[in-house]
C-alpha cells in the first residue's frame, strides 16, 4: 500500500541512481534522441520512480523462481511438461504449409517511402 511506511526503505544511498550519463546511454540503447529538456525531466522522473521501486529490496527473493508469464501454470495440461504442454498452440496452417503472406501492394501500403517493390530508407552503406 502506498501509505505504509517501512523502516527498511533504503535511503542509504542519497546519491542519484541514474546520472545524466546513464540517461544518454539508455536513450542511445532505446534509439531515442531526446532534447536537452527531455533529458532533464527524465533524469528527475527515473530517479523518483526507481527510488520507489527500491522497496522491492525489502523482500528476500533468494530462493524464489522468476516468473516471465503465467500461461505455463494455468489453462494447460499439468500432466505434460515442456513444449508438450503447449502442443495445442501449433498452428494448423503451419502444419499444412505456410500461410499466405499479405499481397505485396497491401504490405507496402503504409510504407512512409517505397519504390513499389521495397521499403526505402536512407542510405546505409557509405561508399
Amino acid at each position: 500500500m502506498r501509505g505504509r511506511k517501512s523502516g527498511q526503505e533504503s535511503r542509504r544511498d542519497t546519491k542519484m541512481k541514474v546520472t545524466e550519463k546513464d540517461v544518454a546511454y539508455v536513450a542511445d540503447l532505446a534509439n531515442l534522441e531526446l532534447t536537452e529538456k527531455e533529458r532533464c525531466v527524465l533524469l528527475r522522473d527515473l530517479n523518483s520512480i526507481l527510488d520507489y521501486i527500491d522497496r522491492l529490496n525489502q523482500l528476500d527473493t533468494t530462493d524464489v523462481p522468476p516468473m516471465a508469464q503465467v500461461s505455463d501454470r494455468y489453462g494447460v495440461d499439468q500432466s505434460q511438461t515442456g513444449s508438450a504442454r503447449f502442443a495445442y498452440a501449433g498452428r494448423d496452417d503451419v502444419h499444412e504449409g505456410l500461410r499466405k503472406s499479405l499481397p505485396h501492394e497491401v504490405a507496402l501500403q503504409n510504407a512512409p517511402d517505397s519504390d513499389g517493390t521495397f521499403f526505402k530508407v536512407p542510405k546505409v552503406i557509405e561508399r
Binding site: 500500500m1 502506498r2 505504509r4 541514474v18 546513464d22 540517461v23 546511454y25 539508455v26 536513450a27 540503447l29 532505446a30 534509439n31 531515442l32 534522441e33 532534447t35 527531455e38 525531466v41 527524465l42 527515473l46 523518483s48 520512480i49 526507481l50 520507489y52 521501486i53 522497496r55 522491492l56 529490496n57 525489502q58 523482500l59 527473493t61 524464489v64 523462481p65 522468476p66 516468473m67 516471465a68 508469464q69 503465467v70 500461461s71 501454470r73 494455468y74 489453462g75 494447460v76 503447449f86 495445442y88 498452440a89 498452428r91 494448423d92 496452417d93 499479405l102 497491401v106 504490405a107 501500403q109 503504409n110 510504407a111 512512409p112 521499403f119 530508407v121 536512407p122 542510405k123 546505409v124
Partner: protein, 481 residues
Amino acid sequence: MDLNSLTIDAARSAVQERKTTAMSLAEAFFSKIGKDDPQIGAYLTLSQERALEQAARMDSLAARGEQLPPLGGVPVGIKDVMVTRGVRTTAGSKILGNYIPPYDCTAVARMEAAGAVVLGKLNCDEFAMGSSNENSAWHPVHNPRDLSRVPGGSSGGAAAAVAANMAVAALGSDTGGSIRQPASFCGVVGLMPTYGRVSRYGLIAFASSLDHIGPLTKTVKDAATVLRTIAGRDHMDSTSADVPVPDYVAELEKPVRGLKLGVAKEYFGEGLDSEVRQSVEAAIQKLAESGCEIVPVSLPHTEYAIPTYYIVATAEASSNLARFDGVRYGYRARDAHTLAEMYRRSRDHGFGAEVKRRIMLGTYSLSAGYYDAYYLKAQKVRTLLVGDFEEAFKKVDAIVTPTSPTAAFKLGEKVDDPLAMYLADIFTVTADLAGIPGISVPCGKTKENLPIGLQILGKHFDESTILRVAHAYETEHGMKN
C-alpha cells in the same frame, strides 16, 4: 424508445422484432456522437461505411425473419489499440497517425461475426500507457459524469462512450487496470478476462505478459454476452488458451448463496478514500445479505505490486515498441540523413512523453548491470504475488475490493507527477500480474455524484463466478444510473 440507452439484448430484440432497424440504431448513435462527443472526446475515428454495411446485413436478416446472432445490430466502439482493416488505427499515438491496418483484430472480427455494428475507434492513452486518458496524442477525454474530471485510463474513451450512450458496449484493453479503473470512474461495468482467455491477435502490444482484451458495458449480463463472443482459442495467437468457453450468460443465473468472498485488508489501508471505503464496505455487506460468506484473506505482497508492475510492463514495452522505427509503417522524420538518425528522430517526434518515459525505464531495467537488480527481481516478486492469490483462492471463490482508491480525479491533477498517476492503479495491477480475471461494477456514488466501483477478482478461467457475483449485486442492490 430511447435507442441510445438500450442494453445489448434490448437493442438486438428491437432489431429482431422490427421495432427499429439496425440502420436507424446506427444512425441514432452517429447522431448522438455528433451532438455530444465534441464535449467528451471519446471517439478518434468513425467507421460509418463499415457500420452501415453491417447494419444493412442485420436488417436484411431480420426482414427475412431469420434469427439474429447474439450481437445482431448492436452498435459498439473499439479502443484504438485494436487494428481494424481499412479503418485508421492510431493507438492514441502520433507515430501511427495515418496507419490503415491491412487486417482485423480477432476480437473485433468475432464481434462483427456475431452481428455487432462497429461505430468507430475510441480514444485512449498513447499505447494504452496511462490512467487518465490524458496521454492521448490527440485530445483528452472528459468524464461524462463530470466534464472537469478524467474518465480514467487507458480505456477512457471506451468507458466514456458507454457511459454517455454513444455505444451500447465497447472493447477495451487492460494491462494494469485499463478496463476496470475507467469503468469505475465512469460508472459502467468493465471486465478483464483471464490471461489467455481472449486472443490478442491484432491488439497493438504494450506488455505481452500482461495485455488483455475485454468488454466495457452497461450491465454485467452484457459483459457476459460480449465475453462469450470473443473468448476462446485463436490459432493466430499462440498465447490464447485451449480452454473450453462456458455459456457465461446462462451461468449468471446460478445462485450466489454459499459462495465464499474474500476481503483482503491490504486493499482497505491508508490511501483509500473514505467515501470509496464506505461504499465498497456497504456493497460487501449487501453481498453477505444475499447469502455470500465473507472471509478475511491476506494478500501480503500487495504493496509490492506497483513497483513490480512498472518494471515488468515497461521492460516488455521497451521491447514491443522497438518495432516503431519509421520503416514499414507510421511516422517517419523527413530530415534525417542516415538510417540511425531516421530511427531516432522518427521515434523522438512520434512518441509522447509518457511513452518515452516508459521506454527509458524499461530499457534501463533490462540493460547490462541492472537486469538482476530490477527485471529479475520484479519477476521473482511476481511469483510471490501470484502465490498470494493461490493461497487466498484455496479459501475463497472470489475476492472483493475497491477498483480504485479514489473516484475520478480532475483533469490536470496528476499530469506532472508520474508516480502519483501510477498509484491510481494500485488495486488493479495485481490481477494483471497474476493473470486472474477481474470485473468492476458500479456500487455507489460520492457526495459529488461521482461513480465508485466494486472490484471482484476470480480464479483463473473462472469468469463465471465473478460475473455471477457482479450480476447478483447489480440486480439485487445495484444503483441505476
